[in-house]
């Protein structure tokens, strides 16, 4: 009888984790790209949004089977897309219960044309909260020390118990980012409840106002501020007392120099979350705390 080494036992355990997850991991294919996805609820897959932008339907592939998937939501801010595929009925992955730690061992399990594609590595950064490039506020920023091919983008990040702690996406400068699993769960819940991923909504239209040197000094502002051009009735903005003509200087302590930044900050938050707006009316600067609503359906 040959003793089984601890190392080969460990390898067996690692392989078992991947095998257990394998049935929940799919490949998805749009006209342009092929990437990975994983089952999060019955019939609902999650994948990376950015490569899919604009796609409405996908092929959902696993071990030679192919079925139709409908893109229900494609949220570039959080980089989460939710896809409905009635044929995907394997057990869904379960979320990790403890927050990801720096140095923790993880596996990214995707599905390429030829089969499973896995990479072991570790979490090299876990800190938060974090505002993505597109302006979404996530509970934490996860940087992963793993290899991530295009085919594996959108794959689940598993801990050593086989729980999903994040979704792996490609970031700038060849970084591999983890979208926290809480954000994935929130997105899927939104889609189940509302049919789309809910974004924050303030209820203002704004135009940028360039400032001269003198005005910058007086207002203690940057090159531009935003002028409120319209306030929607019954919106959080009108309830907070914003009026046409108010100047918006900063949001959550960050100078507001473009409407896009305001858009990003507002839509990056979820309905019910609050933001702090620094508003100037006449010579009075006030800090308003406003609870965002959901954008009303027309």
């Amino acid at each position: 009888m040959s003793p089984v080494s601890v190392l080969s036992q460990l390898d067996g355990e690692r392989a078992a984790i991947l095998e257990r997850a394998a049935t929940s991991v799919f490949a998805v294919e749009s006209a342009r790209v092929r990437q990975s996805a994983f089952l999060w609820r019955g019939g609902l897959l999650v994948t990376a949004a950015e490569p899919l932008e604009g796609a409405e339907s996908l092929r959902v592939l696993q071990d030679g089977s192919s079925s139709e998937g409908e893109v229900l939501a494609c949220d570039l801010r959080t980089d989460i897309a939710v896809v409905r595929c009635a044929a995907a009925v394997a057990p869904a992955l379960a979320p990790g219960t403890t927050p990801p730690r720096v140095g923790q061992t993880i596996a990214v399990v995707g599905r390429a044309a030829a089969g499973l594609i896995a990479s072991w590595g570790s979490i090299c950064l876990s800190a938060g909260p974090w505002t993505t490039r597109r302006g979404a506020t996530l509970a934490r920023r996860l940087l992963l020390d793993v290899r991530l091919t295009h085919a594996a983008e959108g794959a689940p990040v598993l801990d050593l118990d086989g729980f999903a702690v994040a979704m792996a996406v490609r970031g700038p400068a060849h970084q591999v980012l983890g979208i926290p699993i809480e954000a994935v769960e929130a997105a899927v819940s939104d889609v189940v409840a509302h049919g789309h991923i809910a974004h924050g909504y303030l209820g203002v239209r704004v135009v940028p106002l360039g400032l001269g040197v003198q005005a910058r000094h007086r207002l203690n502002a940057g090159q531009a501020v935003l002028v409120v051009a319209d306030v929607a009735q019954g919106s959080p903005a009108s309830e907070a007392g914003l009026e046409i003509g108010d100047l918006l200087l900063a949001i959550d302590g960050v100078a507001l120099q473009s409407p896009e930044r305001l858009l990003g900050r507002i839509q990056g938050k979820r309905p019910g979350e609050t933001l702090r707006l620094s508003r100037r009316r006449g010579s009075v600067v006030e800090e308003l705390t406003i609870t965002l609503a959901a954008r009303p359906a027309t």
Binding site: E56, A229, P259, T298
Partner: protein, 197 residues
């Protein structure tokens, strides 16, 4: 505060008081104004109400690099253009509500320039900020739903349109906003002040 007519000065005085602003000087002479301006740190000049009679006040203010607010009784576009070209910081209608006047003065003290409001004859309220370069009401409505994160299919369902009609509208929106993607279109609309945020 400078104005030729005592009645105008009197009315202005009451207005400023109501707006919580005190006038340090009242005069009908551009020369007196010029002398006074050298003494004040952050003066503002209000002149009323006839153009071009008020031009000397404006010129005096300008020569001291002081922002000048002009109150204009007349609606002549020529007068407004001339006054604005001559460097008036604000062109305000006369008569004007006291609070609006106070706010306008605060604004020009901050270095802004204020153009006259266009008033719609029916309501007297300010007309909405000039509408989109070409975005139709339907397109705006559609864009709001795109911003809400709806897919074409859900937009079609919500607005009771066919998917092809939605796509047709979207293509038109993208072209008008010079956008290639939904995200770009939403950003561009926000930038142009055409989207409720």
């Amino acid at each position: 505060m400078a104005a030729f007519h005592p009645q105008v000065r009197g009315a202005l005085h009451r207005h400023l008081d109501a707006g919580g602003i005190s006038a340090a000087l009242e005069t009908d002479s551009a020369a007196a104004l010029g002398r006074a301006l050298t003494d004040f740190a952050e003066p503002l000049v209000i002149t009323g109400t006839r153009w071009p009679e008020t031009a000397p006040f404006l010129a005096t203010g300008r020569s001291h690099e002081v922002p000048v607010a002009l109150l204009l009784e007349e609606e002549s576009l020529d007068a407004r253009h001339a006054a604005f070209r001559a460097g008036a910081a604000a062109l305000l209608p006369w008569p004007i509500p006291a609070t609006a006047l106070a706010r306008a003065l605060e604004s020009i003290a901050c270095g802004f320039r204020l153009l006259p409001q266009h008033r719609s004859p029916a309501s007297g309220a300010a007309a909405p900020v000039s509408a989109s370069p070409g975005l139709s009401a339907r397109e705006r409505e559609l864009l709001e739903l795109v911003a809400a994160g709806l897919t074409n299919k859900s937009i079609a369902r919500r607005l009771d349109l066919s998917i092809n009609t939605v796509k047709y509208h979207l293509a038109s929106i993208f072209a008008k906003l010079d956008a290639r993607t939904r995200a770009e279109a939403v950003s561009a609309a926000a930038r142009r002040g055409e989207l409720m945020l």
